[in-house]
Structures are given as C-alpha cells and as structure tokens.
C-alpha cells in the first residue's frame, strides 16, 4: 500500500478527525486499574490496530472513546471537545459521529436487516420517526446503497437472526457507516469469524473507511491481520502501551514484550 508513504494526518476534505488521548485511566474496582495512564495521538485517517493479550484493556480503551465505559480519569480530545466530559445530549451528539463495530455484531436480532442499518440514523431523528418507521427517504436510499456496498442488497427485508456470522458483521459495518461517522471503532470485529471471512471483513472495513477517509481504531487478536491492514500498530500489555509504530517495525521481540513468553511464536 503506497498510501502509507504519502501518509498525512489530516483527511482530504481538510477536517481534522484526530483523537488525542491523554492520561486515560479506568478502574472498574477502586484501586485496580485496567487502563493505566494511556496517552495516544491517533491521526485523523488510516487504520490503527490495537493488539495485546486478553484482559489487557484494549476493549475498555475503545469503549471509553464512545463512553460505553466511563473513564476514571484522563481526557480524549476529538473534534474540538473532550469526550470524557460529555454527558446527556452532548454525549449523544458526539456518539452519533462515532460508528462502532462489535465482536458479536450486536444486531437487533428481531429487526430486519434494513432496520438494523437504519438504526445508524437514530441519533439524527426524533423518536416518533423510529417508532412509526418513518425514516426520511434519503436515509432509506442510503441504507440500501450501503447494503449493496457490503454485498447484502437482496437481504434487506429478512430478519437479522437469519444471517450467518460474516453477513451479520457486514450489516454491523453498514450500520456504523450509516451514522456518517468521523471515527469508526471496531472491537474485535473478526474474533467470532472464520479466517477467510475475517480477512473479508477487515478488507471491507479498510476499504469503506478508506473511501470516506475516516480514521479506524480496531482491537484485534490476530497479529497477522493487524500487520496486513493497519497503518499503525499499538501494542498493549497490562493496561499500558508497550509498542507504537508502523507494522513493519513490529518484531518478535516486541510481540514477546506484548504477549509474554516466546514458545507461541515458533
């Protein structure tokens, strides 16, 4: 990918979508920090992969950004405001600009595929429109186009629980893009999928976010996938950042520092 050579921190449309995390700390139980003083600056474009062992706080970090988890301390500056301080309406307004893709897809099972995609617009619409399913025609057109783009155009009207894992994750991606986001978070998007589908899903996220020049932060277990798709890799261990650099700089010694041991590297 030559894009990396000409990598600029600001997107082509001139909007700065960078995220500055400063001294982020999260304790679920007082005194036991899952995230210890994480500081990261994530440029406003390209894919950043966060790797690290289970339970090391990757998921917590990503969930802090859209405040599904409330951080204990620290700040997260994004598009002119500190995400850590937002509440109520301001928080919802910030959330609707941050798309999220989940490990277990988290589609509303009993809603149709198109309804799930349209959920991405709920932050922009009054409740009665959701209640009566009176979505604006422009939103409906865009939802169909996004479903076509993820290859599920003909599945629009079937219920989400009828889909396979890979198909569900495609719907999850369409839902996140439907928000017209300035940032996409992906929390282990491939961990419940087979290897081939995992690659397809990562390609889809990279391509669709790349077209729109939106930054992506992805938690991922699979180091090979991270190497293949990310522009930057952040390695975490025990709640701290222990590696930060481009994929080609990631060596076995770093992986040992991140995951510990070496037998698994053979």
């Amino acid at each position: 990918m030559d894009a990396k050579a000409s990598f600029k921190p600001v997107a082509a449309d001139g909007i700065d979508r960078s995220l500055v995390i400063r001294h982020l700390r999260k304790e679920y139980r007082s005194g036991l920090a899952v995230l210890k003083d994480v500081s990261l600056t994530i440029e406003g474009r390209g894919m950043t992969a966060i790797i690290g062992p289970s339970g090391t706080g990757k998921s917590t970090l990503v969930r802090c950004i859209n405040r599904l988890v409330d951080p204990t301390a620290g700040e997260m500056l994004f598009m002119g405001q500190d995400l850590a301080k937002l509440r109520g309406r301001a928080l919802r307004t910030a959330r609707r600009r941050i798309g999220m893709v989940f490990q277990e897809y988290n589609l509303v099972e009993r809603l149709s595929v198109i309804e799930n995609v349209l959920c991405g617009r709920l932050g922009y619409l009054p409740v009665w429109r959701a209640w009566l399913r009176k979505f604006p025609p422009a939103d409906i057109d865009r939802a169909f186009r996004l479903l076509d783009a993820v290859g599920l155009g003909e599945f629009a009207n079937i219920r989400a629980d009828q889909l396979s894992g890979g198909q569900r994750q495609r719907v999850g991606i369409a839902r996140a893009l439907m928000q017209d986001p300035d940032l996409v978070l992906a929390d282990e998007p491939t961990s419940s999928l087979d290897p081939k589908t995992s690659v397809e899903i990562m390609e889809l996220i990279a391509r669709r976010a790349g077209e729109r020049d939106i930054p992506v932060i992805v938690n991922i277990h699979n180091v090979d996938l991270a190497r293949r798709f990310a522009d930057r890799i952040v390695g975490m261990s025990k709640g701290e950042v222990v590696f930060d650099g481009p994929p080609r700089a990631l060596e076995d010694s770093h992986l040992m520092a991140i995951y510990g041991g070496e037998g698994w590297l053979e």
């Binding site: 599904l68 941050i98 988290n106 509303v108 009993r110 709920l122 959701a130």
Partner: protein
C-alpha cells in the same frame, strides 16, 4: 493374604433426614389441630354432600327460556366489554410501568418506585380490589373495569419488567452507541426483543380477564357475575346452570383465541 474381605461398615445411600421428618410431623399435627378448630368433621361433610346433591338436582335441566337468554346475552356482552377494555387499558399502562421496573434500563429510584407500585397492584385479589372500586365509584361495569385494569397492571408489568431484564444488553448497547436518544433505544433496541413475549402475556391476560370479569360481577362490578348473583338470590338454580355453562364456553373460546394469538406472534 486372606480370601475373606475385611468387614467394612455399611454405608448409607439414603441417610435419614431428621429435619424433614420433624417438619412433616409438625405439618400433620397442624392439619389435625386446624380441622378441629374449624369444625371440619366427617359428619358435616356427609351432610354437606347430600345438600349438594339436592342443589345439583334443582339445577337440571338448565333454563333456556327466551326471557332468561336475553338476560344472559346482556350480561355476557357486558362481561366481554369489561374484559376487553380492562385488557387494552391494562396493556397500555403496563408497558411504561414494566419498562420503568426493569433495573437494567431505569435508574434505581424509579425502578424501585415502579416495583413498589406493581407489588401494590398484585397484593390484593381482583375481587377485593373490585369491592373497593364498587365502594368508590358505585355499582356497575366501571368498577369492574377498574379492578381488572389494576389486576392486569400487576401481572403484565411484572412480567414485562422481567422480560426486559433478561434481554440481550449487547443489542441495546449497539443502538445506544449510535447516539440514539433514550426512547429511540427503547423503541429499536428493547421493544423488538420483548415484543413477542409481551403479546403472549397480553393474550394470556385477556383470557384471564374474561374469567375474572365474571368474578368481579359477583361483588357489584357488573357483567355476567351480576346476573349470576341475582339468579342465586332468586333461587333460579336452573338459570344458574345456564350461566355457568355459558361462562365455561366463553372461557374456552378465550383460551383458544389467546393460544392462537400467541402462536401467531412467536
């Protein structure tokens, strides 16, 4: 080495459960005591059975004379209306109350207030509630409807609250992550998950209100119960049998309809 195995103390597969034995003995003693206090004796039972025989004989043949059928029809129609109105209003009020009672959705003070209200609705039998309403708003169908609304709210809100507490939080979390306002999260993330069960409960409640609408009439709540009570007072036991048969028929029809409704919305 000897061929005879060393004597092993016999192990008990079912050791005696003394607390259970003592408990059963106490229960037996209490039954005997309570029967003596309440004057429940064999002689009285035998006398009662022969009275019952004479009563049953007077019920046959059931009275299907046209003037009685007019009374029966009027009473039945009123009971049906009581049941349907009570179910509709009960369902409409139970939905918000049930959502408020779900501890994974509403803040603790609201949840506990709602739970207290539900417990209050459930604490008294519909007949007692009906007596209260007859005293408050006077004889007639209004008292019956109000009593059954209270009963429906007690039953439906509790079950809806429980259904909401058992739903998948992941599906709701994904809708919340789009920046949707709270009520939109409820409409698109919560309702689809609990709707089938809600419809099932409502169908069951309609069935149960049909049965109870006959009951509240006995204490002045209008409907077929009032007709039944009058027939008893006038010793029209043959008409009593007609009414009882009609109630059985309508309850059976109600059961079939509610079963059919539940299957339809599974």
């Amino acid at each position: 080495m000897s061929d005879i195995p060393a004597p092993v103390p016999r192990r008990l597969a079912f050791p005696p459960n003394w607390p259970m034995r003592i408990g059963l003995l106490v229960l037996l003693l209490y039954v005997v005591y309570a029967s003596t206090i309440l004057d429940i004796t064999w002689t009285r039972f035998v006398a009662g059975v022969s009275h019952g025989g004479r009563f049953l004989a007077r019920m046959f043949p059931p009275d299907f004379s046209p003037d009685k059928l007019v009374l029966l029809e009027a009473g039945m129609i009123e009971s049906l209306q009581i049941a349907v109105l009570a179910t509709i209003f009960g369902v409409a009020l139970s939905l918000p109350l049930g959502l408020a009672a779900a501890r994974n959705l509403s803040p603790a003070p609201l949840a506990w207030t709602a739970r207290t209200l539900i417990a209050l609705c459930r604490s008294l039998h519909p007949v007692i509630v009906a007596i209260l309403f007859v005293k408050a708003v006077g004889f007639g169908a209004l008292a019956g409807v109000l009593a059954l609304i209270v009963a429906s709210m007690g039953f439906l809100s509790k079950l809806i609250g429980e259904a909401v507490e058992e739903m998948s939080m992941k599906q709701m979390e994904a809708v919340r992550a789009t920046g949707a306002p709270f009520l939109s999260v409820v409409v698109m993330g919560v309702m689809p998950q609990v709707m089938p069960r809600f419809i099932g409960f409502s169908a069951y409640q309609l069935d149960s209100n049909l049965r109870n609408s006959a009951l509240v009439g006995l204490v002045g709540g209008g409907g077929i119960g009032a007709t039944l009570f009058t027939a008893f007072q006038r010793f029209d036991y043959d008409f009593v049998l007609t009414i009882v048969l009609a109630i059985i028929a309508i309850v059976m029809v109600g059961e079939i309809v509610s079963g059919w409704m539940r299957r339809l919305f599974q």
